[in-house]
C-alpha cells in the first residue's frame, strides 16, 4: 500500500532553560492510504506533538516527515501553509470553526483559498455537508450549532478539498458520549466509503474501538502499532 505519511527518525526536543525535554523520540512510522488509525497515549506521551509535525504545524528537531510524496524538511512557513492547504485536513478539539462564517462558508473557506471556482466550491461544500448529515444547516453560524454539529462542520471542511490525509486531534474530547459515538461513526463511514485516510490522536476508548489500526505512544516512543482485521466496534 502507498504511504501517505512517512516519518523517518523523527525527533522533537523542547528546551526549557537549560533543560531539554524530549517530546518525540526517533519515530519511524508510515500511515498508509486508506488507514483509519488512532494515535493514543497518556498526556505527555507526544501524540499531539507528532500530529503537529506530520501536519507541518511544528518543525522536528531532527528527522523527516514526508506527506504525499513531499518532504516537509527545509520548507519555509509559506510552503508549509501550502502543504496544509492542499494535502492535509485538520479537525481540532476545540474552536475549530471561524465564528463569523456560516457552516457552508466555513467549508468554502478552504476551497476559496484554493481558488476553486464559485459554482464548483458551492456544489462541493453542499455535498460534504450532506455527507456529514448537516443538509439544511448551511446558513447557520457556529453559535447556532451544537458541539457535535460544529465538529461535523469541521470534518466537512477538512474533507472539502479532498486532502491526502485528515488529522484529528482529540475530536471527541468535548462531546457527550452519544455525540462522540455519532462523530466517530461518521468519520469511520467516510473512511470506508470514500477511502479517506484518517489519523486521530485520542485517548477516547470509544474512538479506539472503531479503528482498524491502533498506535500507542509512551514517553515519545511508539510502543504499539497494531493492525486489526476489523474494528472492535462495528
Amino acid at each position: 500500500m502507498t504511504a501517505i505519511v512517512s516519518c523517518r527518525a523523527l525527533t522533537k526536543t523542547y528546551v526549557q532553560g537549560t533543560l531539554e525535554v524530549p517530546a518525540v523520540r526517533h519515530i519511524d512510522l508510515d500511515i498508509e492510504q486508506g488507514d483509519f488509525a488512532t494515535l493514543a497515549g497518556p498526556s505527555g506521551s507526544g501524540k499531539t506533538t507528532l500530529l503537529n509535525m506530520i501536519g507541518g504545524l511544528d518543525r522536528p528537531t531532527s528527522g523527516e516527515v514526508i506527506v504525499d510524496g513531499t518532504s516537509l524538511a527545509g520548507l519555509d512557513n509559506n510552503a508549509l501553509a501550502d502543504i496544509r492547504l492542499h494535502k492535509i485536513g485538520f479537525v481540532f478539539q476545540t474552536y475549530s470553526l471561524i465564528p463569523v462564517l456560516s457552516a457552508e462558508e466555513n467549508v468554502e473557506f478552504i476551497l476559496r483559498l484554493l481558488d476553486v471556482p464559485v459554482d464548483e466550491r458551492r456544489a462541493r461544500s453542499r455535498e460534504v455537508l450532506h455527507q456529514v448529515g448537516l443538509a439544511g444547516m448551511e446558513n447557520r453560524r457556529p453559535a447556532r450549532l451544537s458541539g457535535g454539529q460544529q465538529q461535523r462542520v469541521a470534518v466537512a471542511r477538512a474533507l472539502g478539498p479532498k486532502p491526502a490525509i485528515v488529522l484529528a486531534d482529540e475530536p471527541t474530547a468535548n462531546l457527550d458520549s452519544k455525540t462522540a459515538e455519532e462523530l466517530i461513526e461518521l468519520m469511520s463511514g467516510l473512511n470506508q466509503t470514500s477511502g479517506i485516510t484518517f489519523l486521530i490522536a485520542t485517548h477516547d476508548s470509544r474512538v479506539i474501538a472503531h479503528t482498524r489500526r491502533h498506535i500507542e505512544m509512551t514517553d515519545g516512543r511508539v510502543t504499539l502499532d497494531e493492525r486489526r482485521n476489523r474494528a472492535i466496534a462495528a
Partner: protein, 408 residues
Amino acid sequence: MKRLGLLAPIGWRNLWRNPRRTIITLVVVSVGMWSVLTLSAMVQAIVTSSKNTALRQLTGEGQIHAPGYLDDPNVSRSMRAPSGTVLAILNSSSVAGWSTRIRVPAVIQSEYRSRAVMLVAADPTRERTVSDIPGQIERGRYLLDTSDTGLVIGRELAARLRTRLGKRVIVMAQASDGHLAEYGFTIVGILGGSQESLNGFVFAARAPVQKLLGMDDQISETAFASAPGANIDTVISRLRAAAPRLDIQSWQTLAPLAATLESVSQAIVGIWLLIMFVLMAIGIVNTQLMAVFERTRELGLFQALGMRPRSVLLLVALESALLVGTGVLLGALFAALTIWPLRNGLDLGRYAESLAHYGAGGGKLFPQISASSFFALSLAVWLLGVLAALWPARAAARVSPVEAMSHA
C-alpha cells in the same frame, strides 16, 4: 484581489463581534476626523476673512511701484500710468480690478491740531474694484470722481484733529520740485469701522493732488486684485516680464502679517491633525491589539488551515482599514453636514466687533474647505490609521500556529 474578496467580509464581520469596542473606536475616529475638517474650514474662514479685510483696504493682492518707492515713498519715485502690455494684463480676465494712486507722506492741519499722515489720491471709481474703503463711509460720502476736491478721513483722525464733516483742513506735502505744497480740502466723508491703521491715511481724488504736487500724469502706485480662480503669482510673473524695470510685489511681501497669519493657521491645522491622529492611533492600535490577542487561537487556526502568514496580516490590516475607513467616512459626513449649512456665512453677531480687531471683518465668517483639501485630509487620516494598525497586524502574522492553538 481574490484574497480581498475572501477576507474583507470576514474582516467586516469580525469588527462587529465586539460592537461596543468597535463603536467606541468609530466614535473616536469620526469625532477626530470631524474636528480636523471643521477646524480646517473655520480657520480657513478666519484667515480668508482677515486676509481679505487686510488686502481690501489698501494693499490689494499686488502693487506696482517705481524702483525704490517702497523704501522711500516720496513724490520723486513716481511712474507713468499703466500702458501697453502692462495695461493689457491689468485689463485681462485674470485681474478683477486695478487702481492707480498717488501715495505720499503729508501733514494734515485742522483749526486746532496737525498730524502726519499718508495722502492717498486715487480714481474713486477704479478704487472700488480693489478696495472696500469707499464702502466704509460712516458719515458724508466718498469721493465722486477724479476731480473731486473733497477729502475723506477716518473717524479717529477726525476726533484727534477736533474736526468734523464739512470743515476745511489743510494738507501739506512735498511737491515734485521740492517745495512744500499745500491745499485746503473740505472734509466730505468720515470713515467708520475699527481698522485703526486707516487713521493714518487721508483720501483725496487723483487730479487735484497731481496738480498740487506738480506730478502731471505720474502716479505712485498701481494696486490690483486677481479674479476668482486666477493665480496671483501668475499675474505677477506676467507683469514682471512685461515691465522688468518696475517693482512689482505680491501681497505676501506687502502685507507680511497677513501672510504669516495664513502660514500660522495652516500650522495650527497641521498640529491639530497631528494631535487628533495620535489620539485616534492610540484608539485604533489598542482596539486591534486587543482583537488580535483575543483571537490568537483563531489566527493560529487560519494558518493551520493553510492561510499564509501574509494573508493573516492582510486580514488584520483589512479590519483596521474598514474600521478607520468607516470612522473617516462618518466624520467626513458630519463635517460636510456642519460646514455646508454655513456656506452663506456664519453670523458673528455680538462677537463681530471683537473679531474685527483680529481682522475678521464684515460680521460674518464663511467656513470653507476646498474639495481637494477635504479629500486629502480624509485620505491622510485613513492611511495613517491603517499604518498604525500594521503593528498589531504584524503581531498577528507572527503567531505560530502551534503556540496559538494552545493559547487559552
